[in-house]
């Protein structure tokens, strides 16, 4: 449209920022995507459940005082043969309420996943921005390391870091440290995605004329990187974060399942599945089934959200 047709915007009827956001194409697309809405709801419910687990859970699975071995292997929804106690999702071999262990396991899984992604994001975004803006040997070094690391699958890198860290920690601290090691291991295996995407986007932004305008004014490298370029590369970062969250949750579950992640004293969903696998063939399916469904629901919703975000933020794909 040309200037000729564009009348000055009427000043009196300026809608509020919220109304503008509600009316934006992005919000509109969201309101009209049932899949995205359901996915967001599921993610929110699971997050809240994890956050308020101690208040929601009927039992504290880690308090031996509340456990009764007689309650072991109670099927879901049926009263126990000895104690007549009923458990919504049944109990495991030690009489722990499966529903409660899932809530606590979700807490661990989400804590590890979110922390790992945040850490990976901070590392990746900073290194990606620096690589793109500074260039030269700094860029070469960062991107070479990224390339080499990318050659190795993330899960393998995480395992290696976990294995090395295990070698360094004295055995008595291993269980306590496991969660933190897990976070660092997953973050270090995932930062490359952020760095590559941010560098790619920042290289495009760097050559745009608004960056030159800022340099011409005399702004230094840091303000240009973080005030000018960063806000313009955030949408791909958002997409990558969401997809990475799903990957991190799955990676955590996988490592825990393999026995190199969250310890049985602090079981995550993956640990629960590892425990449950042993009872699958003897008929106590619920010990495995419910944690597995929770994990799938979580990973799938986050993935659906990520997929939707990518399409919504990249209009040319529509």
């Amino acid at each position: 449209m040309s200037d000729l047709t564009q009348k000055p915007a009427p000043a009196q009827s300026q809608p509020s920022r919220f109304a503008q956001m509600w009316d934006s194409d992005f919000a509109y697309a969201f309101r009209h995507s049932p899949v995205a809405i359901v996915a967001l709801l599921v993610v929110l419910v699971l997050f809240l459940a994890a956050l308020f687990a101690p208040w929601i859970a009927p039992h504290n699975p880690f308090d031996p005082a509340t456990l009764n071995l007689m309650n072991g292997f109670t099927p879901p929804g049926q009263p126990n043969a000895f104690t007549q106690d009923t458990f919504l999702l049944g109990t495991d071999d030690q009489g722990r309420d499966v529903f409660s262990t899932i809530l606590y396991g979700l807490r661990i899984s989400l804590f590890v996943g979110v922390s790992a992604v945040l850490l990976a994001m901070i590392i990746g975004v900073i290194l990606g921005l620096v690589a793109a803006y500074i260039g030269g040997w700094v860029e070469t070094l960062i991107m070479r390391v990224a390339d080499v690391q990318l050659t190795f699958p993330a899960i393998l890198v995480a395992m290696l870091i976990f294995g090395i860290a295990k070698g360094f920690t004295p055995p008595e601290y291993r269980n306590q440290m496991a969660i933190w090691v897990l976070i660092v291991a997953i973050a270090l295996s995932d930062w490359v995605q952020f760095a590559r995407v941010v560098r790619g986007a920042a290289l495009v932004e760097k050559n745009k004329e608004y960056v030159q305008a800022a340099r011409l004014i005399g702004r230094g490298s840091l303000p240009i990187m973080f005030r000018h370029i960063l806000p313009n590369v955030l949408s791909p970062v958002l997409v990558i974060s969401t997809i990475s969250l799903a990957l991190a949750i799955i990676a955590e579950a996988t490592l825990s399942f393999l026995g190199v992640g969250a310890p049985p004293t602090q079981p995550s969903l993956g640990t629960l599945i590892r425990i449950g696998q042993g009872f699958l063939f003897s008929g106590e399916w619920w010990i495995l089934f419910f944690p597995a469904v929770t994990l799938l629901a979580l990973a799938l919703s986050v993935n659906l959200l990520g997929d939707w975000l990518r399409d919504a933020l990249n209009p040319k794909l529509r």
Binding site: M1, S2, D3, L4, T5, Q6, K7, P8, A9, A11, Q14, D25, Y28, K208, E209, Y210, Q212, A213, A214, R215, L216, I217, G218, R219, H228, P231, N232
Partner: protein, 569 residues
């Protein structure tokens, strides 16, 4: 017999807010051997007509009314398969960008042969022979070698010739050329247009030539239809419409075209459609610090500056390859003058501008501003002082404003950085500036995407004026704008120079625009300066062969009506 007859065509794109009518009851006719120009500014719907004829409208666009007939038979509304047979065989298309129109992974021969065989039942050998003849016909030298090359081995102009050869593969009756020369340099542009003209005559092909460029229309077409906002406002033989336009929009459009032969005082402001945006130069001048331009000394002295770019990285020095973008360029800029630098793409003109602005380091040579060497300033205070004095207006109004910053922050950034004002005074100054460039103070709270290209360029100007500089670098400030907006922006720049006494460096590839703006001009070629002259002298009497060539390749605009134009005294 009429080849293509478009009657009452309406094309609509439903969006969620409203139905956007891209083409509104357009009619036009194409006869054999005739070139019919479709001209208009961006958003006028001219390209949409071409896409509608070929059934290549991007979803969700569709034809809602009207009939398109080819040789008397209706073709609008045909199914995909029938449309495919028609495409290429009867109606062909040439796209704007030859760089992206060819598949990079196939040789020119492969692409030609498959297209010929898709339309004619001939053997591979026969198809290859025809492909070779076509390549020869569109003027590509050494066709036997070139045939087996890949698209990336061709230059832009040669690639567009390949595209034309591909469009000719099936002996089409009609060719729709959508901005076929917009991505090319002036010299190449003229050759491609000549080729299209020749082929139209020789093969009796009807051509629809879609363009925004009045020069292309005046030089190439037989008939022209002027489009505005989806509607054809005026149609007829080209020389009549150009020489004696009747419709007020056509008049305003023609009056806004810069002429190489006539330097205007200001472009006439004949508004059509919307309201005119005012530029309050008097208000601006009132608060501007008085500069007494000492005409005896140059403001800028550029002495032998050179810039090399690394082409190939290498760990070892002899492994690296350099490209010399600017090769010992020297000139002076006098206070208060507009100094133009003109050249084709790759001539190094933008690099010169960026070196002066301090965005690129100077590899060799020296830049002196107001008696002080500024090409290797390391003193922070001196550097900041220099930066306050020079500002720049960029080419692309869509990328020169940070989309995530509010307009008031964009304009305030230089004021805050240089600590020129504090607190509420900044806000007041920003609103004043926005008001003075014609956007109104309420623009402050908005984001760049809420403005049109011309309005954005005004925001850029407000930002550039925020530090009250003495020197303004304009790097192709209007080449991304429609011609009527270009006229407005050029008028503003003329005002700034006249009323504020600003000195300007004006970079452009467009000679007529340079003629309108500049006092003196340097012509650049391959990183070197070919000649420097007073603008009038350059146009009247170029000293070098290269400048003469450039001037000759300019579109001749003598046919255009000079109604409402006032020459500079």
């Amino acid at each position: 017999m009429t080849l293509l007859d478009i009657k009452d065509l309406t094309v609509e794109f439903p969006t969620r807010r409203k139905v956007f009518r891209a083409v509104n009851h357009a009619s036009l006719v194409v006869e054999p051997g005739q070139i019919h120009g479709l001209v208009g500014e961006s958003g006028a719907g001219k390209s949409t007509i071409g896409a509608a004829v070929l059934g290549l409208l991007e979803r969700p666009g569709h034809i809602t009314a009207g009939v398109i007939s080819f040789k008397g038979e209706q073709i609008s509304g045909l199914d995909d398969e029938a449309m495919r047979k028609l495409r290429g065989r009867s109606i062909s298309m040439i796209f704007q960008d030859p760089l992206t129109s060819l598949n990079p992974l196939f040789t020119v021969k492969e692409q030609l042969v498959e297209t010929i065989q898709a339309h004619h039942d001939v053997s591979e050998a026969e198809a290859t022979k025809r492909a070779r003849d076509l390549i020869d016909r569109v003027g590509i030298p050494d066709p036997d070698t070139r045939l087996n090359q890949y698209p990336h081995q061709f230059s832009g102009g040669m690639r567009q010739r390949v595209v034309i050869a591909l469009a000719l593969c099936s002996d089409p009756d009609v060719i729709i050329a959508d901005e076929p020369t917009t991505a090319l340099d002036v010299a190449v542009q003229a050759q491609i247009l000549d080729l299209i003209k020749e082929l139209a005559r020789e093969r009796q092909v009807g051509v629809i030539l879609v363009t925004h460029d009045m020069g292309v229309i005046a030089e190439t077409t037989d008939l022209v239809t002027v489009m505005y906002d989806g509607e054809p406002v005026e149609s007829g033989p080209t020389h009549e419409i150009m020489g004696n336009p009747q419709h007020p929009y056509t008049k305003s459009l023609i009056a806004a075209v810069p002429r190489p032969t006539l330097k205007l005082h200001r472009f006439p402001q004949i508004s059509y459609g919307g309201r005119e945006t005012r530029f309050a130069i008097e208000d601006l001048a009132r608060n501007w610090p008085k500069t007494d331009n000492d005409m005896s000394k140059p403001l800028f002295q550029i002495e032998g500056i050179t810039k090399r770019f690394l082409l190939r990285k290498g760990l070892l020095p002899w492994d690296r390859e350099y490209f010399t973008a600017v090769d010992s360029v020297s000139f002076d800029v006098k206070p208060g003058e507009v100094f133009g630098v003109v050249g084709e793409s790759g001539s190094g003109k933008s690099t010169v501008a960026r070196m002066i602005a301090g965005l690129y380091d100077v590899d060799e040579g020296r830049i002196t501003f107001d008696g002080q060497v500024v090409s290797d300033l390391s003193d922070k205070a001196a550097l900041n002082a220099y930066r306050q004095e020079i500002q720049m207006i960029f080419q692309d109004p869509y990328s020169s404003l940070n989309p995530r910053m509010r307009v008031d922050d964009i304009v305030a950034e230089p004021i805050r950085h240089h600590r020129l004002l504090e607190g509420d005074a900044i806000d007041k100054r920003v609103r004043e500036l926005l008001d003075q460039v014609g956007l109104g103070a309420e623009a402050a709270m908005k984001y760049p995407h809420e403005f049109s290209g011309g309005q954005r360029q005004r925001i850029s100007i407000a930002r550039a004026l925020a530090t009250q500089p003495r020197f303004l670098i304009c790097d192709e400030p209007t080449s991304a704008l429609d011609v009527s907006i270009q006229a407005q922006i050029l008028n503003i720049l003329k005002d700034l120079q006249e009323h504020l006494g600003l000195t300007m460096l004006f970079i452009s590839h467009d000679l007529p625009v340079v003629r309108q703006m500049c006092d003196r001009v340097a012509v650049m070629k391959g990183g070197k300066i070919a000649e420097i002259q007073q603008t009038d002298d350059l146009f009247a009497n170029p000293q070098t062969e290269y400048a003469r060539e450039l001037l000759e390749l300019m579109p001749k605009l003598d046919d255009l009506s000079t109604e409402n134009l006032v020459a500079e005294s």
